[in-house]
Symmetry: C2
């Protein structure tokens, strides 16, 4: 049974400081854990609510856990509610190690890189990771003042996107600029004014810079070709993860 | 000063039942209210925190309120925190009437219509409204089991998108199907398998059907041409609002 101390420990992982010390995260929800199991990403233990143990999709996860020799246990639903980040918990949780799950060596970053500057909303960040996973983008760089990719809201909205990224690094704006220039990326910077994304010709090696909705891209990171999404209505801006999807659909379609 | 009863009343509008009875909503946040003032959409009163009254952007809103003869008052920040839906309130709120703000007459729906089936996440729904506003789509139909467009999370994530939609209606699946068929729309249905959106030829009169991520499109609404977003990675699905943006970018670009 989940002890008081264990509950306290798992809840402590909701704070960035503790995640960094422990190098562990708490995953919650069927779809995320289903993807995580697929990747066997250092899963330490899975807790499943007694209320859902006989559901078909849970039985299929349990089979995968058994096949991969991952520890799991059934628990009282009310007890699991104590570690949930949502009002109505789906009743499935996993403790995963994040020690060295990403390659941080810039020499290994791919020919297509996403640069995220000051993305402070963890929900948007998660949706961007999920979108990158859909379009096969495996290298992501964030400016130091961006949200934590292991924030629980980010994990929830990425719905497993985390497990499809190979290379991940937080850098200062200066470090990002020199990385892009030294490595001869075609640099594209999303902006409200620039060349229409619909007119961009296919590129092989590119880096796409996306800034926060509130602050835009840092002035020192406004480099490369400015690109924009053709606007027809009059609203002020588009959600950054939607913009990311529209641009990636264009850049990855040859 | 905001009375206890007024606070109770404003908080009661966070429940759908009460919004429907009162035909009023509570708006929160600078960007949303800035858009709302622009449209003068039946704003009854605006409350502004004393903490922010001297900020430049707030002064510019106050000027607009004065020009449009909209009632407003300055309030204690702690008092306003009591009606906030967020932990760190921006300190600006508005009470708006939603009585007859949308045209519900199907005869007036435009040549481009978005159909949303079972979109239950209000955050996604709001981002879709914002995306529609960007691409100039002014007619939206939702299946009856979709989230409420006046849910506070939906209003927050739409960031003013609500004010750019002209025609809005909740219908049953059967009513949607007959509306689309009688009016000879080119029907496109987003699906994991279908013709690539990148190969779709320009259309003049179209209706785009989007389903929820969890349940997809209702089987009775799976009509028209199936279209899909080309996938390169292996993740199971894309966020529905991102998918909406990618498809609209293609459909509205001639």
């Amino acid at each position: 049974m989940l002890s008081k101390n264990k509950i306290k420990y798992l809840n402590s992982l909701k704070r960035k400081k503790n995640r960094l010390i422990e190098k562990k995260i708490l995953l919650e929800g069927y779809r995320i854990i289903s993807e995580a199991v697929l990747f066997k990403k250092n899963i330490k233990h899975v807790w499943i609510s007694n209320n859902i143990k006989s559901k078909t999709n849970i039985c299929s996860i349990v089979q995968k856990l058994k096949n991969n020799k991952i520890d799991f246990s059934y628990e009282d639903h009310k007890l699991l509610q104590l570690i949930s980040s949502t009002k109505n918990s789906q009743g499935i949780f996993a403790l995963a190690s994040i020690n060295n799950i990403y390659n941080q060596d810039l020499n290994d970053f791919g020919k297509n890189v996403i640069i995220l500057d000051q993305i402070s909303d963890p929900g948007n960040l998660g949706t961007i990771l999920r979108t990158c996973a859909w379009f096969g983008i495996k290298s992501i760089i964030l400016s130091n003042n961006s949200a934590d990719i292991f924030n629980d809201k980010c994990i929830r909205s990425a719905v497993g996107g985390h497990f499809y990224i190979d290379n991940f690094k937080y850098l200062s704006v200066n470090e990002i600029v020199s990385f892009l220039k030294i490595n001869n990326y075609n640099i594209l910077c999303a902006d409200l004014q620039g060349q229409s994304i619909n007119k961009i010709k296919p590129l092989k090696k590119w880096a796409l810079i996306l800034g926060s909705e509130a602050h835009g891209v840092d002035k020192n990171l406004k480099i490369g070709k400015k690109i924009t999404i053709t606007q027809i209505g009059n609203i002020e801006s588009l959600n950054v993860s939607v913009a990311c999807g529209i641009i990636l659909n264009k850049l990855t379609y040859q």
